[in-house]
Symmetry: C2
Subunit: 180 residues, 2 copies
Amino acid sequence: MDHSVRMTSTLDPRDAWTAEGCTIAKALDAIPTRSAFLILREAFYGTTRFDDFAERVGISEPVTAARLRELVEKGLLEREDYREPGQRTRRRYRLTPKGADLFPALVALMQWGNRWLDDRGGPVALRHRDCGEEVSVELRCAAGHAVCPEVVDLAPRDARHATHDAAAMRMASRRRLAAE
Amino acid sequence: MDHSVRMTSTLDPRDAWTAEGCTIAKALDAIPTRSAFLILREAFYGTTRFDDFAERVGISEPVTAARLRELVEKGLLEREDYREPGQRTRRRYRLTPKGADLFPALVALMQWGNRWLDDRGGPVALRHRDCGEEVSVELRCAAGHAVCPEVVDLAPRDARHATHDAAAMRMASRRRLAAE
DNA sequence: CCGCTGGCTTAGGGATTGCATAGCCAGGAC
DNA sequence: GTCCTGGCTATGCAATCCCTAAGCCAGCGG
């Protein structure tokens, strides 16, 4: 069975364009390493402190420091100093909205790993607090339909505009021919 | 604002457990490199042939060969020989169901990249063939509710059993005290 | 002032990823 | 038999990722 998405409009055939500017590639540049991604996992799990990140991800302190700095520089985490009463100043790292928006990607990988890489469905589950049911990611269109991958097309951004423009140009061309 | 998920049951406090066996980490082990992930992107875009993978991802042939071999070994792609009439035997790579099931993860990264890394919302869009609307991933629970990350909890797999077992043990303990 | 802690940095080294280049090889066409 | 093509492999090198170990430093408590 063919599991690929269908190319449409100027994207068909696939030879006709390059993936320059691909946002999947850009996303992978933003979180280029396994250690960076797992630090984000820990941030989603509520970890905030340097030593805890190192310990819970299982990476060394130099790498922890480097990854935290990069994630702050890229705007996925923010660093702030805080102080509990009677204690000295400490530093914590927290997700920004930009970083938090990676949650579906994290969930999608967990879901895949649960299904294919763990006979028991994974050691942990994400649950909807209100009803207790397990949470997963689903493909949906803007009209609210659940969409299976078999009916997903890849189109240029603004393909409607492009398609509309192309139709308008064809009409103009016909008018020119009729006037000749 | 706190963007982390809430730990529940034996997962709270976060100190109480390690992420050994984490399926996110296992998933990252399965697709450990940027080049592997982008080869999968191309497979979703319908690319099947060796030279095309190398060219469209923009990686060298030695790396293309190594990544394709690894993805086949891990069961995400399958390799088969085929022959067009009048031509010599060729080889193509195609997604397996296991590989195809990574589509939501790919879509989630594209969606994030479209929103945060491209002022114009990304060069391409995924659309629902039946209605033309853009496709994205959404968090949903098994009861069908759309779920925002603020109401997602992390629980041990089979937490209901664990919680139920704990309640049953408390009842038995009360009965023993009453009999004394 | 000393000691401790939290949060790093530095240095050296090993492993991995990826590049460019050249080459190999099977199988087909001529 | 020769040539070409598609799909690799081999080699040497550069860059990156990560490790361990040691060290630094500010700020606090005693």
